[in-house]
């Protein structure tokens, strides 16, 4: 009896039902027979790797895409469930679905208030009533705790504030269902916490909330239920309370993922020696930096971004000269010339892989050989040897498991993880002496991250020196033999990872001096 009552109550609480949604893009099946329910007062996390079809699913819900099969049902204002008109954002809006896209959909030349009222009044109205809108928004801000200055142009708002405008936009239209796509991707940890506190509050007021994420911690910490999407299919739909990190990771990837284990390194002769090097200017300037990186070791460079990391990268890549001090690779001075750096064996894995790592409009094959294009293997009498380039590309695509339509596909069409694999294949297959890896796993999913880590350790074991620049302490502790901290252009003495703990590195990143005894 009680069970039946419960079921009836649950069904009355049902706000939204996705029924067997299937969506194809050409041959690719983005969503396959996906069903998902959402009830009032519930926070559901949609977890999946990049490319699993999370965003596609939500775009179908919001009418940006039309599904080939299946339907979306929502509870109408009269209390009945009805089928949502496909491919019509206004229908989704009218049904009370509010969506906060990963890339905010705000007009930056308008104020927050104007963005919020946009489209809520007839276009043919002679004027809109700002005071009425403001009154409603002020009560909404009070109820939800989302404070934001409504009269400032959006271009002047910080990222967190813009997100609050986006949420208010949905609430202003009386949304009962709120969908957030990777809401914490652009937020600081503090902002993320306050976002989830707001979501909690909103759900307690009766909203149904779906948030999309690939971060395990926030899924476990802030959802009532978690749906795992893998290759376009829902593989699990569970109460969060019975889930744990390992289980979700395995579900997401489809097989168990082992974190890469670092074996003790075998450091050889000094490879890269920086002696009191100064370079760059302004906030990112390097000030008398000294460092010795040996063959066969990984030095992790911790630091909050903007403390000189990018200057160091440019310096070692040969993009800018040192203003004082010396910079030597295997005893030879490293000139400020990128092509010379490559010839001397510097492999560069740049921080912004889309912008600096590939030429997006060129093919995968071209991107794979671009650093070696002058070698006789790929050119003869100044003419490209397409056969050799193609063979090289096909071998690399296989060896690195680069998922792409083919060697001729344009590189920018690939996902972030696959673009990073192109960069890895291009640089590491040249057997470089020095690997300069900046934020190599940022934005990558679990599987791709493990692959990057494995390749870096492999390069080290082959005898290369690796300088790993990262903001991710877990990654640094997992891979580095020694860790140094950069703060305001000063570099600390590298300390063996075994002698460090994360909190002391965190303190050093914030600028505290650390004595060696203290660390031990």
């Amino acid at each position: 009896m009680a069970q039946e009552d419960h079921e009836r109550e649950m069904s009355q609480n049902l706000l939204l039902a996705l029924d067997s949604i299937t969506k194809r893009f050409g041959d690719l099946i983005a969503n396959k027979d996906v069903s998902l329910d959402l009830h009032a007062g519930e926070i559901v996390a949609l977890l999946g790797e990049n490319g699993a079809g999370k965003t596609t699913l939500m775009n179908i819900l919001f009418g940006h895409y039309v599904a080939e099969e299946g339907a979306v049902r929502v509870r109408g204002w009269n209390g009945d469930m009805h089928v949502l008109e496909p491919g019509a954002p206004h229908a989704a809006l009218d049904a009370g679905i509010g969506m906060v896209h990963q890339h905010f959909t705000l007009a930056e030349n308008l104020s927050g208030l104007e963005n919020i009222v946009l489209g809520t009044e007839s276009l043919w109205a002679m004027r809109f009533s700002r005071s009425k809108a403001r009154a409603k928004l002020e009560s909404l801000m009070e109820a939800s705790g989302l404070e934001v200055d409504l009269d400032v142009r959006v271009s002047r708002l910080a990222v967190g504030e813009r997100q609050r405008v986006e949420i208010l936009k949905a609430l202003y239209r009386d949304a009962r269902i709120l969908v957030l796509d990777e809401p914490t991707a652009v937020l600081t940890p503090q902002e993320s916490e306050s976002l989830f506190a707001t979501l909690k509050k909103l759900s307690s007021q009766g909203l149904g909330i779906i948030f999309i994420s690939h971060k395990m911690a926030e899924v476990l910490g802030h959802s009532d239920r978690v749906a795992v999407l893998r290759s376009g299919e829902i593989v699990a739909d569970l109460a969060t309370s019975i889930c744990d990190r390992q289980m979700l990771a395995d579900l997401m990837v489809g097989h168990s993922v082992e974190a890469v284990q670092r074996t003790p390194g075998n450091p050889g002769k000094p490879l890269l020696v920086l002696d009191k090097v100064s370079a760059g200017e302004g906030r990112e300037a390097l000030d008398h930096v000294s460092l010795t990186l040996r063959r066969g070791e990984i030095i992790g460079l911790a630091g909050v971004s903007g403390n000189g990391q990018s200057t160091l990268q440019q310096l070692i890549s040969g993009l800018i000269p040192a203003t004082s001090g010396t910079l030597k690779l295997e005893g030879k001075p490293l000139p400020a010339k990128a092509s010379a750096a490559i010839r001397q064996g510097v492999a560069r894995i740049p921080e912004d892989r889309h912008h600096d790592g590939i030429v997006g409009s060129m093919s995968v094959a071209s991107n794979l050989v671009i650093e070696e294009i002058r070698r006789p293997a790929y050119q003869r009498f100044g003419l490209l040897r397409y056969g050799a380039i193609k063979r090289r590309a096909e071998a690399a695509i296989k060896a690195y498991d680069i998922r792409c339509p083919g060697a001729k596909a344009r590189a920018r069409l690939l996902s972030g993880g696959n673009i990073q694999k192109i960069v890895l294949a291009r640089t590491l297959d040249q057997h470089p002496a020095l690997v300069l890896a900046a934020q190599p796993s940022r934005g990558l999913d679990v599987g791709a991250t493990a692959e990057v880590h494995r390749r870096l350790l492999e390069a080290r074991d082959r005898g290369a020196g690796v300088l790993l620049i990262s903001e991710d302490l877990d990654e640094l502790f997992q891979l580095s033999d020694r860790i140094a901290v950069i703060h305001r252009g000063h570099l600390s003495e590298p300390i063996r990872t075994e002698e460090l703990d994360k909190s002391s590195v965190g303190l050093m990143m914030a600028g505290h001096e650390l004595k060696k005894e203290e660390a031990a």
């Binding site: 775009n59 919001f62 940006h64 895409y65 954002p89 206004h90 989704a92 809006l93 009218d94 969506m99 896209h101 890339h103 959909t105 705000l106 007009a107 930056e108 030349n109 308008l110 104007e114 963005n115 009222v117 946009l118 489209g119 809520t120 009044e121 007839s122 276009l123 043919w124 109205a125 002679m126 004027r127 809109f128 936009k169």
Partner: protein, 313 residues
């Protein structure tokens, strides 16, 4: 001082405003298009269309205001063409716009020649006459400068207010400004990006055509080849000068009109010593200088020139 006399004479300012009138229409039209995110380089050709069709409607027997409406309608048709090519089809706005200019100009000349195969001197119509506003026209200085213009000049000035009001005070204007900055924002609020953009390009093009119609129905009373003479291009530059604001657009147009009126008078003063081409050049050179100074800080509509495709990130 002769130059001061020129600048303080009512007839000088009357001429400046007269010269500015087609530019006011054109710059407002271009401004509306660009605010919605579409550059309309068809402007030069749409001026020709407006000049030809407005004049021809009257020559065929319509009254003057019907001629104005015909010109606006024909401009809107070419706007629709440009809108379809650049908005849903997403073609290059530069290429499409230049194509529209070539096409619209050629069609206008062709129609004119076909209708009047054997005329040597262009036939004249009874054009708009200066409007005598009782009382105001008799005011010293302001009267002759402002209130002895033709009705189309008053229409242009009124449109500055209307466009400003619509853009900044109405939901429609809000949507137009938003669609030129971030079409995804408009789509996410349930409005039609295509509808707004095509509509804006059509209305903008209608205004451009009015600029042409002013030339054949107010400034002159006949249509002849080459009469637009780059006025459309000047409008494209003036939009940047005006930072996409209607009030500043008016200022820019009048400033250009003043330069032009000034050089005409200067030619009379010192015409013997200096070739007249130098004077003709003055307004353009000054426009470029003004543009260089202003445009460095220009705050472009962010989505200008960028086609929008639904669902694409």
């Amino acid at each position: 001082m002769e130059y001061v006399d020129i600048l303080t004479s009512a007839s000088f300012w009357a001429a400046a405003i007269r010269i500015a009138t087609p530019l006011i229409f054109g710059v407002l039209g271009a401004l509306i298009c660009e605010r919605a995110g579409v550059l309309n380089l068809g402007i030069e050709g749409i001026f020709v269309v407006g000049a030809m069709t407005g004049w021809m409607a009257v020559w065929l027997g319509a009254d003057l205001w019907t001629g104005v409406a015909v010109a606006a309608g024909c401009g809107a048709v070419f706007g629709l063409l440009h809108g379809i090519l650049t908005v849903p089809l997403g073609l290059s706005q530069h290429v499409s716009g230049l194509g529209i200019t070539l096409f619209a100009t050629a069609v206008s000349y062709f129609t004119y020649r076909t209708a009047l195969p054997n005329v040597s001197s262009p036939p004249r119509i009874e054009a708009f006459q200066p409007l005598d506003v009782p009382g105001l026209s008799d005011l010293p200085f302001i009267g002759p400068a402002l209130f002895q213009q033709t009705p189309m000049t008053f229409l242009a000035l009124a449109l500055v207010l209307v466009v400003g009001f619509v853009l900044y005070r109405t939901p429609l204007g809000l949507a137009i400004r938003a669609v030129g900055d971030n079409p995804a924002a408009v789509e996410a609020q349930g409005l039609s990006v295509y509808g707004l953009r095509i509509g804006a390009v059509m209305v903008g093009s209608a205004l451009m055509a009015l600029g042409g119609a002013f030339l054949t129905m107010s400034a002159f009373d006949a249509f002849f080849f080459g009469m637009i003479n780059g006025r459309g291009w000047i409008c494209i530059a003036l939009v940047v000068f005006a930072s996409w604001r209607p009030g500043k657009a008016l200022l820019g147009a009048v400033l250009f009109g003043a330069f032009d009126a000034f050089q005409i008078r200067l030619q009379n003063e010192v015409g013997g010593a200096i070739p007249s081409q130098i004077f003709l050049m003055i307004p353009y050179v000054l426009s470029i200088v003004a543009l260089v100074i202003v445009a460095r800080k220009a705050d472009y509509p962010r989505a200008l020139l960028q086609p929008y495709f639904r669902g694409q990130r």
